[in-house]
Structures are given as structure tokens and as C-alpha cells.
């Protein structure tokens, strides 16, 4: 996966190709119960099968491109150490999904902001908490009151909901 070991970046491309095969298989396999032709007209399975067939053909061409093309598209993959930042950012997103309904959006935004600002952007605790509070209140006011989006108040329901 690293730059040095796989100069053409083939491994991730092979993985991509295999994932596409799985998708093709899924399109055909999971639509087995549906009819391809219904009352003389294309049925609900028609489009998934057409897409699966074309995607399958394209995937063969993709593998040919990866292995045999002289003008193979250069793929530079990040080192594992470089993936720590992106992974942490995605984790903050997952954290938001987990706590969104449970803690409510104000607490979730505060938590996510502090974690992101402190551990990813390396701000001080004080600044992270201050900006976190500011962001959680601003987003609540903007979306709940100005844009009228009903948001879960969660643990702050006693304070935020009349």
C-alpha cells in the first residue's frame, strides 16, 4: 500500500476491481426474486442486470488498464502513518452519528468540536472548549430557530425545550 513497495499502485486498484466484482455479483444475486420481463415490458430486474453486465465488462477493461496499459494512470497511495489524520476525522463523524440522538445535537457538537480541535488541530483545551461551545450554540440557533429544523435536544432538553 505504500509508495515504495508498489510503484504502480496496483494493489489498491486490484482491491477496487475486486470490490466492483462484488457489486456486480450483488446486483445480480440480490435481485433474483424480481422479474426481468413483466407483462411483455422490462421488469424491475431489467436495469440492475443491464448495469451489472456493463459494469462487469468495464471491470475487465479496468483490470486490463491496470496490468497492461502503457499509459497506466499513476496512483500514489498514502503511507499508513499519513492515514491517521483522515481516520481520526472520520471517527469524529462516526462519534456524531452515535451520539446525535442519544446526547442531543448540542452536546454532540460540543463533544465533536472539542475532540477535533484539540486532537486534530492541536488547539489548547481552553480554545477548543470555547470554540466548541460557540459552534454548538450557533448551529442550534441557526438550524432549530432560524431554519426551523427539529433537532433532538437530548440531555439538554430541560434547558432547550420549553
Amino acid at each position: 500500500m505504500t509508495q515504495g513497495k508498489d510503484a504502480h499502485g496496483r494493489t489498491p486498484q486490484i482491491v477496487t476491481g475486486l470490490l466492483i466484482w462484488i457489486v456486480v455479483g450483488g446486483l445480480i444475486g440480490f435481485t433474483r426474486g424480481l422479474s426481468y420481463i413483466q407483462e411483455g415490458a422490462p421488469g424491475p430486474r431489467f436495469m440492475p442486470v443491464v448495469l451489472a453486465v456493463v459494469l462487469g465488462i468495464l471491470n475487465v477493461l479496468y483490470f486490463a488498464d491496470v496490468f497492461f496499459s502503457k499509459r497506466a494512470t499513476p496512483v500514489v497511495m498514502p503511507r499508513l502513518s499519513e492515514l491517521a489524520g483522515p481516520a481520526a476525522y472520520v471517527l469524529v463523524g462516526l462519534l456524531m452519528i452515535v451520539f446525535w440522538e442519544r446526547l442531543g445535537v448540542v452536546a454532540t457538537v460540543l463533544l465533536a468540536s472539542v475532540v477535533e480541535l484539540k486532537f486534530l488541530e492541536r488547539y489548547s483545551w481552553g480554545k477548543s472548549i470555547l470554540v466548541g461551545v460557540l459552534l454548538s450554540l450557533t448551529t442550534w440557533i441557526l438550524f432549530q430557530f432560524i431554519l426551523g429544523v427539529p433537532l433532538p435536544a437530548g440531555i439538554f432538553a430541560w434547558l432547550l425545550v420549553r
Binding site: 499502485g9 489498491p12 486498484q13 477496487t16 466492483i20 457489486v23 450483488g26 446486483l27 440480490f30 435481485t31 424480481l34 420481463i37 411483455g40 415490458a41 422490462p42 424491475p44 430486474r45 436495469m47 440492475p48 448495469l51 459494469l55 468495464l58 471491470n59 477493461l61 479496468y62 488498464d65 499509459r71 494512470t73 496512483v75 497511495m77 498514502p78 499519513e82 492515514l83 489524520g85 483522515p86 481520526a88 476525522y89 472520520v90 469524529v92 463523524g93 456524531m96 452519528i97 446525535w100 440522538e101 445535537v105 457538537v109 465533536a112 468540536s113 477535533e116 480541535l117 486534530l120 488541530e121 459552534l135 448551529t139 438550524f143 431554519l147 426551523g148 429544523v149 427539529p150 433537532l151
Partner: protein
Amino acid sequence: METILLMLHGLAVALTPINLIFCAIGVVVGTVVGALPGIGSAGACAILLPATFKMGPVTALIMLAGIFYGTQYGGTITSVLMRVPGESASVVTMFDGNPLARQGKAGVALGIAAIGSFVGGTLSVIGLMVFGPPLADVALMLGPPEYFCLMIMALSLVVAFAGESIVRGLISVFMGLMLTVVGQDLMTGQPRLTFGSLQLLDGIDFLPVAVGLFGLSEMIAYFEKRTPLEIIKAELGFFKVLPSLKDLKESFWPMIRGTIVGFFVGIFPGAGPTISSFLSYGLEQRISKNPTQFGKGALAGVAGPETANNAATGGAMIPMLSLGLPSSPSTALMLAALIMFGLRPGPTLFKDAPDVVWGLIGSMYVGNVLLVVINLACIPLIVYFMDKVRGYLPIIILLLSAFGVYSYRGSTFDIGIMLLFALIGYGMTKVAIPLAPLILGLLLGGTLELSLRQTLVLSDGNPMIFLTRPIAATFLVITCASLILPVLLRRRKD
């Protein structure tokens, strides 16, 4: 005469206080987003699309369009001052804009870019007025077979322009089309690939996918390699960015040529502002009396491409408004907004919703005037803001994305879909599969399937109908040419 009257009506719509305010918000957001490397116009439109639900369709579209053409202005600032293009369409501006800044002419480069953007943006709206309505009238004559082939042609053109590999572009399109088969079948109502999930019964929504692919995936990539940026210190007050008469004279013809190139390239699906700016740069370099100056600080190298990328935004509106075909992710989001407001994009839009269409066109005149004023007068403020906000951008984007997606259907499932597609988008970029074809495939997939199945019902299942109808066959020939020609040309080049 009728067009002029409709245009005046459009201007009246655009100049109502509420539309004027949201036009100003759109162009300011667009300028700032364009100036900030890492999030493009599509990402900004996607993130802010849910905020438009409470507005009327005219106001929403005016704001989204403002973001779209505003980013083309803003992208120049970082290209010139930091050698980091805020937008892909501003990459070319960097070639000569940054050397000009290093020679102490940052103000001139930014001023010419702003004026060029204004010229390109404004003249292209005239083109939109001239070519848009007749094209819509022609499109009214198209039946399901022609419409199917037209969409196939649009997608193939997007693929042809999307990147180096046609195969990768096609894979991206088919991934987008594949997402549209999830949910209830359009004709029979039977659930397809829903795996018993109630949320999937409504299908995979466009919004979380677009926000994930274009907003968040860029931020994930940002965390991979964080490079400190050097901003060239320059005096950027109003009078410092006003170009001299000599500079304006030197830039006049590059601006005119940039407008023509940008407008016509912008009409083609997939081509858009980036390709038009590269073509304009190539043209200016080729016809210049002093081609060796290019790359070292040629003013024509800034004026031409900057005019072209803004003219392309006007061109891009033609297929969107007249045919209901998006030519870029940003116009796809505007189409999604129309659909969300219950309007049917396509040739009937000019007649069904003249307020929306002509209000939007009118707002583009107003927006371009606002932008040139903002860009000439507020560059120091934008640079200061950019400097201060950079560190907080990832969390702000994550929050706005999550809130925006949640507010559409009130479901955390959509936030999960958004996060999933952010990862998919990041992965696709890593393995050089372009993102734009996927989003256009997702937007057009439903209509494409419907047209195909309607056509096959009409022809008793005979696919030869596509070849026996002249317009459909012509579209198919163009489709084949757009996919085969680049491969042949590349082979010949090799």
C-alpha cells in the same frame, strides 16, 4: 422583443430585496469558498442546499448559482497569492498570476482577473438568453427514445472530459446509475435491493451522496498532508487592484476570446470552467507575439482563462435550464434543488416556471456586478478571513454537512450515508476514478431508466428503435465518437 421583456421581468424578480440579499450571500459565500483550498463550488452548493428548503425555488436557485459563479472569482485569490488554486478552474491562473504577484503586481493580476470574470460572466448570460429558449423549444419535440439517447450522450461527454481514462470515467457513471436502482421500482413499485430497510425503500438520496463526495471527502484528503501555506504579502487596497489603461488594453482581446471559448465549452456536459480555462490559456499562448513570457507573468495568461472560466458558468446553465441536463456537479445540485421544490427540470421549465428561469438569469447580471465590486474592494478582507478561518474549517464543514443532510429527512441514517460516500469519494480519488460522472449518473439514473423502459414498451422490446429514429441515432453516434475519439487520438499521440 419577448426575450427582452422576459429578461426585464427576470431582473425585477432578481432585484426584490429577499432575492438580492440571498444573491449577495451566495456570491460572498462563493468567493470565500473559492478562495479556500479544499472545498469547491459543488461541495459548497451541496452543504448549503438544505439551508434553501425554507426559501422559494427562485431564491434558492439564485443563491446556489451565486455560489457557483462566485467560486470562479474567489479561486483566483489563492492562485495568485499562495500558488494554491482554491478551485480547479483557477489552476491555470496560478501559472502567470503567481509570478506577477512575486514581481509586486499582485493587485494588477487580481484586478484583471476580477474584471475578466465580470466580462465573461456578463457576456455569457447574454448568450444564455439567446440560445436557451430556442433550445428548450427544440427539446420539447424529443420523445423517450431521443431523451434516453440525449442523456447517454451527456454522460459520455462527461466521461470524455472527466479524466485520462475513459474506462474509469465509465465505471464512475455506472456506479452512480447503480445507486439509483436501490429503492422502489419506478414502474411496478416493487422494492429493489432494499434488504428490508425502510430507509432504503425511498432510495439513496442525492444530497448525502453529493455532500459526502464533494464536501467531506476533500476534508478527509486535507488531513492526509497538511502543508503550511505562504501568503505573498501585497498591498491590495481598492486603488492598488484597479488596472491601468495599458493593462486593460493588453487584456481586452484575451477577455473577448476567453468569453467565446468559455461560453461554448461550458455548454458541453463535463467540460465546464476548468477545461475552458486551460483551452483559453493554450489559445492565448499560441497566438501571443511573446509566448515565452507565459509562465513568467503574462497578463493575457490571467485575463483569458479567468474570463473563460466565468463565461463557462453561463454556458453550463443552457443544458441545465433547456434540457434538464447537468453539465457539472454544481449544476447537478441546482437541478436537485429544482426537483426538491417540485419543479420538473427540462424544456418545459421556461414555460412552467418563467419566474424561476428568468429570475435566475436576471440574478446572474446582478451577481456579477456584486462580485466585481466585492472582489475589487474586499480582497484584503477576504485574505484576512481566509487566514483566520483555515484552522476551524474541517469541523465547520463536518458540522454544516451533518446538519444539512439531517435537516432534509431528519434521519441519522443519511449522515451515515454521507460519511460512507466521503470515504468512497476519498478512495475513488486515490485510485484515479473521477467523482463527477458518479454524481451525474446518480442524478440522471432514474429518468434514464424510465426513458429506457418506456422506449422498450413503445417498441415491443426492440432496441433497434434507437437506430431507426434519426435524432436518437445522431445522439448515439456522438456518444460513440466521444468515447472512441479520445482513445484513438491518444494512440496516435503515443
